[in-house]
Structures are given as C-alpha cells and as structure tokens.
C-alpha cells in the first residue's frame, strides 16, 4: 500500500524494535508461570465442564482441590482420575460436581497419563479445526456479502433469549458482527458461570451455553441472509483464557482481548494479566479468532488529541504480545477510536489523520474502530451527525471492524430501532463513498500529514522512555493512561503460580507446536 502520509519507515521500524525489547522480559516471566484460570482453561479444553449444586464450575472445583499441586499442572490429575475411575469425561465431570476429590488419588503411570492426555488433545484439536474449517467455508461460500468495514453492533439485554431476538434482528438489518456485552461485574469474577442465563446488568453472562445458543441463532441467519455473521465476546478480565477456550469450542469469531486493559482499567494484577493474556491469545490464534484490543479506553479517560500517542504505543505493544502468542497480523483487530471533542477546530482532520496513520502502520490488521461515546450528549440529532462523520472516516481509511455508533449513546442500551438507524446511516455513507479512498491524496506538509507524523514521533519518544524503565515499572509509575498499578497489587494476584519442575500441560505444548512458538 502506498503511503498517503509519508510516514517514516525507519521510525515505524524503530517503534516495532522498541515494542519487541519492551515485551521481551515480560515473556520470560510468563514462561515461568501459570495461573488458576490458565489451568481451568486447560481443563476446559480437556473436557472439564458442569457445576456443583451451588453453581461452582467443575474446573474451579478441581483447581481448588489441587492447591499447591497446581504447580504440576491440573491436567495430570484430571487425566489420572479418568484412568483411575475408568469414567468418561462426562462421567468424571458429574462425579466431581457431586463432590469427588481427585487431588488425592494416587498418581498412576506417567506414560499412561500422557497417552490418555494426548487423546484429549486430539479431540480438542479436531473440534476446533472443524470450527475453523466451517467458518472458512462459509466465508468463502458467501464471499463479498459482508460489508467493508465489517458492521459491528452490540446486544446487551441481560437475557440470552432476548439477546437472540435482538441479534437476529440486527443481523437481518445488515450487521456483520454481533457482540454480546457481558454483565457489568463479570470481568472481576474468578470463575465462569455455568448454563443459560436470563439475568444480567448492562449485559449478559458469558457462559459456554450462552455462546452455543447465540452461535446456533446466528447460524440460522447466516443461511437466510447468505452472509457470514461473526459472533463476538470478551476474553478479558480474570477468566481471559477460559473464555477464549469456550469461544474456541463454540466457534466464536472475535474476542475482545487486550494485553494490558485489565491491569489499567480493571485493576487486575499485572503478573496475572500478562500470563493470562498469552495463553488466551494462543487459543485464539489456534481457533482463528480475531482479537479486538481496547485502545479506545485510553481516550475515554484522557484527551484524544494530547494522548493519541498512547493509543499507537499500545497498538505496537498489543501487536508484539500477539505475535509472541502466535497470532498473525490478519487476526489482530487493533483498536482505536473517534473520540475528539466535537467543538475542536479541524477535529475531523485529526481523526482522519490518526485513522489513516493506523491503517498505514498496520496494513494487514483488521483495525477495530470505535465510535464517539464520550462526547455523545443525549442530543440524538447531533449524535446522528457525529456518527455519520465517524462512518465517513472509517470507510475512507479502510478500517477493518466498524463498531457502529448509536444516536442514543449516553441515554440507554440500544433499542432495536437505534441499531437500524445506525446501520442505515453506515450503509448510506459507505455506499456513497465506496471508492473515495482510492481517489484521495493528502497535501504534502498539510495539516493531516503533519498530524500523523507528529503522533508517530510522540509515540516513538514515549516508547523510548518505557524501554528505559521497563514495562512493569512504567505501569507502576502511571505512564499508561495516568493510572498507577503497583506490581504486587490488584485483583487475582493470589491466582498466580510458579510452574514446578514437573509442570505438565500437553495442550500448551500442542498449541505452541501448532503455532510455531519456541519452547
């Protein structure tokens, strides 16, 4: 792609080099650790599922039983129990839910455990590869039927069955991507609830059964509309890798998944997050799931002009963390947002500059572009115009995933008609300027070109300082989003476990091998 902004290749390269240096020591830390949710995710991949009478999920029951034995990896004990009891996976799950203790069963022959574990790895692999193949086949069958950028809308009723109605309606109206927003507290739960749920606040619980219900509902629409509908959820919070595991099994297509969001915006411990994000991303990579990163959050807490460089720096870091987990660029929905104050003179030019800059720096990434939210006021008429400008920038800079702005943002979670109005707005703008991107060049040394170059320079300067102090100290000092997060504070730290010399996780080994990762 030719550059319209005359961005310096050398400076972009320097930023990538810095990202690699910044992320590298964190990778060393990650390699030596596991967490309760990494172990539970592994158990889920092996088939652990269900819950006891109090609703405690089977993967949690197992991990809670293991305590200090967790340093050996939970799979050993799960597989050992399968062999010792002669049960099927379902049978063993039921027994554990009924109170069976598997931690104290004498450990059998290691070779036998490994043989059985490899069987489970194979059935996981077959299931996820089948999901991938199905998605790829449908995308090919209905090629050219999706809008570009992909039109992404949110449903958030709290009741999965109501979500289904809203999602099917939105997909019928032209949405390409349906995200089911999670209930507001879920990111801080250290377990994933079980079964279909009908109550949530500001969203719906992410559960494997809810995933399955929504997937089936959208697959109906896929056939009716002859268009693939991407299903999205949140592999974030304290159960990042478990949600990724569930998504891989139930064929979700996108996951919100950021390497630092939980640390900064949810006060989750940084060690915990770094370990969790890696395993979650390995699962996403293997399942062909597009991650959506959360850079828009930097701009809802800070100014979109002054702090534009924090977005680009975070994109470089997210990209590096993702590469380290085996994700190819085409699965990286790096985030950014249209969040400048609408009263700003020439604000539109700056938005255009930053969106085009992201496009040129990450040419293969399906960039996730977020709509105005912070400056939406309740004046729905103005909101509709703000959204139209956002739609224009997104199309003319070829963004990948376009989260539709709602004219009723800041008033309520979207009504059915709000989504329809938003979709009509976007389709109108996109169609009207379909080929405009190819017609546009920017004035050399004009406002737009200079703005983009300035943000890149600020980004490199910022990353140089982060490289000097190190990523973890930089986060402790509040260099990201002005939020200070000490490394030994935050939620979920007690779930961090140093891997023992006997640590065994054949799923992790399998994923590494498949993804071409070292070690």
């Amino acid at each position: 792609m030719e550059s319209k902004l005359a961005l310096s290749e050398k400076r972009i390269e320097r930023a990538r080099e810095l990202a690699k240096r910044i992320v590298s020591p964190v990778q060393d830390f990650i390699a030596e650790h596991t967490t309760v949710t990494v172990e539970r995710a592994t158990l889920r991949l092996a088939g652990a599922d269900g819950a006891d009478v109090d609703g405690v999920p089977v993967p949690n029951l197992i991990v809670d039983q293991l305590k200090s034995k967790l340093e050996n990896g939970a799979v050993t004990y799960y597989v050992n129990a399968l062999l010792k009891t002669g049960e099927s996976v379902d049978g063993l799950n039921r027994k554990i839910a009924e109170g069976m203790k598997i931690a104290d069963l004498p450990l059998g022959d290691k070779m036998a455990i490994d043989r059985k574990a490899q069987e489970l790895v194979r059935s996981f692999s077959v299931r996820v590869k089948r999901n991938r193949a199905h998605r790829e086949a449908k995308l090919k069958q209905f090629e050219g039927r999706n809008t570009s950028p992909l039109l992404y809308v949110i449903v958030a009723t709290g009741n999965i069955h109501e979500d289904v109605k809203q999602a099917q309606a939105a997909a019928g109206q032209g949405a390409d991507v349906i995200a089911v927003i999670r209930t507001t507290a879920q990111s801080l739960l250290d377990y994933v609830p079980y079964g279909a749920t009908i109550e949530g606040f500001g969203g719906t619980y992410a559960t494997q059964e809810n995933f399955r219900i929504m997937r089936a509902a959208l697959d109906e629409v896929v056939e009716r509309e002859q268009r693939y509908i991407y299903l999205t959820n949140y592999a974030s919070g304290l159960c990042m890798p478990e949600i990724a595991a569930m998504g891989a099994l139930e064929r979700l297509d996108m996951m919100l998944n950021d390497s630092m969001y939980g640390i900064l915006f949810r006060d989750i411990n940084m060690y915990r997050t770094f370990v969790d994000q890696k395993f979650s991303r390995m699962i996403n990579a293997f399942a062909g799931v597009i991650i959506n990163t959360g850079e828009d959050n930097y701009l809802t807490t800070s100014d979109a002009v002054e702090k534009a460089y924090t977005v680009l720096a975070s994109q470089f870091l997210n990209e590096r963390f993702a590469f380290e987990a085996g994700l190819p660029a085409k699965l990286m929905g790096l985030g950014h947002a249209f969040e400048m104050n609408p009263t700003l003179k020439n604000g539109f030019l700056f938005e255009l500059a930053q969106a085009q800059m992201a496009r040129e720096i990450f040419p293969e990434a399906p960039l996730k572009y977020m709509p105005p939210t912070k400056f939406m006021t309740g004046d729905i008429f103005k909101g509709q115009v703000q959204d139209a400008l956002f739609n224009f920038v997104s199309k003319v800079t070829n963004q990948g995933i376009h989260l539709l702005g709602m004219l009723t943002e800041a008033i309520h979670t979207p009504f059915m008609m709000d989504r329809s109005i938003a979709l009509e707005n976007a389709k109108y703008v996109f169609n009207n300027i379909e080929d405009l991107a190819g017609e546009i060049e920017f004035k050399k040394d004009g406002l737009i070109v200079r703005r983009a170059q300035q943000v890149l320079e600020e980004t490199v300067a910022f990353m140089e300082t982060v490289d000097k102090v190190g990523l973890m100290p930089a986060i402790e000092q509040g260099q990201f989003a002005d939020i200070k997060r000490p490394r030994d504070m935050g939620k979920g730290l007690d779930g961090l476990v140093k891997k023992g010399p006997e640590y065994y996780n054949p799923f992790e080994s399998y994923l590494k091998n498949e993804l071409g990762l070292e070690g």
Partner: protein, 245 residues
C-alpha cells in the same frame, strides 16, 4: 403564561415522535401507529415514515399536534444548584474567604458498576468539555477511588481523610440496579451513625436531584452536570453547616 410545543406558529402544539411496534411494516402497521399517536392525545396525526426492523417489528416516525398545555409560572425546578454556579476560580475564592481550609471530597463509582466516565468527568484534573474537574481546584482535596468500589470501602475512606462530601457515580441503571445500591449506601451510613457527617451526592446520566433526595441524598446531578455544579453545591452546603454550628 400558558405554553404549548412550538412548530412554526405559536401554540400549534407540534410534536415529533418515533417508536417501534411489534408488528410487521405495512398499511395496517402504519394505521395502528397513527391511532396510537391519536390515543396519546395528539390531533392531525401523520406517520411520515415507516420501515421494517425485523420479522414482526416496524419503526415509525410520527407528527401530531397537541392541545395539552403547561402553565409556565407554576413550574418549580428540582435541580440541586440554583441559577448561580461558581466558576472554578470563584469556588476557590469562596472557600478561602468563608471556609478558610481546604474542602475534602471523596468520589467513586460504586457497586458492580465499572464505568468511571461519570466520576472522571467531575473529578479528574482534565475534567470534561472544558470544565476542569475537582482535582484541579486548588482549594479542594479530591480523591477519586475509581470504579467498582464497595460502599463499605468508600465510607471507610471518607472517614479516613475526613471528607466533607462523598460523591457517588452510577451509570448502569438497567433494572434499577443503581437504586438498590444507592439505598444500601445510605442505610450503611446511617447504621454507622455517620449520615450527618458528610454531604452525600449522587450523579449519573439517569439520576436527578429529585430521585437523589427521595433516596436520602443531599443532592443529585444528572445530564449536563460539570464539576462547577457539584463544587457550587458542596461549597454552599459546607458554608451553611458552618453557619448553623
């Protein structure tokens, strides 16, 4: 003075509406929509647009004229602050002159609510829409505890820093989850015998002063509120308390 909505002629009572009906789009749906608008009391009703939203759902834009009126002179507002709102500098001047020490404010988004946007708009240095937040006020000591703060923790913190005022933000209001949380906070404060110790305010896009007062708060702040409004309310209340003592 008797008033009605104004379209292009005084007292024409013109109103625009839009809504969804759970029926298919078509002549019957449009007539149902028109009759519905008539039933609301509108005359000269017109459905200017309709389209299908999904199987069994349709969207309508409607216009009508109403004879309903309001006597403007009898209207009483229920805002926490009156017409006089201090600017940041004015507020700091008043604190220096009439209070003579820094005013301490603790704020948080409480319960399960994870949205800091409201409390940040009021408290963060940067503020919102060119209105600086309370952290910027030289005469205010502001502590923003962020989101998902338990009520108990917020109270403990307010006691620790000897706060004059506690600010609570509630953004998520689905199924009235905020009401429950707000009531619990006041009850907890009362149980500890601390209700009179603090000026307690709540804010959020769906919060009004009336609701706040009903729930036992001193003031409530909804849409269009900036730090200026909140600071004005707190400063005036602190002065009132000082005079009362």
């Amino acid at each position: 003075m008797i008033i009605r909505p104004y379209g292009d002629t005084l007292d024409d009572g013109a109103v625009q509406l839009s809504f969804t009906l759970p029926v298919p789009d078509g002549p019957k749906g449009r007539e149902a929509a028109r009759l519905f608008v008539e039933k609301l009391g509108f005359k000269h009703t017109e459905i200017t647009h309709s389209h299908a939203l999904a199987e069994g759902f349709s969207f309508y834009v409607a216009y009508g004229k109403t004879e309903t009126s309001i006597d403007f002179d009898t209207v009483r507002i229920k805002e926490a602050t009156g017409d006089k709102v201090y600017s940041m500098d004015e507020a700091c001047e008043v604190i220096k002159e009439k209070i003579g020490r820094k005013v301490v404010v603790v704020g948080a988004c409480t319960g399960f609510d994870a949205h800091t946007v409201g409390i940040d708009a009021i408290m963060n240095m940067k503020g919102y829409n060119h209105h600086y937040g309370l952290e910027r006020y030289s005469e205010i000591e502001a502590y923003n505890l962020g989101a998902q703060v338990p009520n108990e923790k917020l109270i403990d913190y307010a006691v620790k820093v000897k706060a004059d005022a506690i600010l609570i933000s509630q953004i998520v209001t689905q199924k009235d989850v905020h009401i429950q949380n707000l009531v619990e906070f006041i009850e907890l404060l009362q149980a500890k015998g601390l209700r009179e110790k603090f000026i307690v305010c709540v804010g959020g896009s769906r919060i009004g002063n009336q609701l706040a007062v009903e729930l036992g708060y001193d003031g409530g702040f909804g849409k269009g509120t900036y730090a200026d409004h909140v600071a004005t309310f707190i400063v005036d209340r602190v002065i009132e308390q000082k005079v009362a003592r």
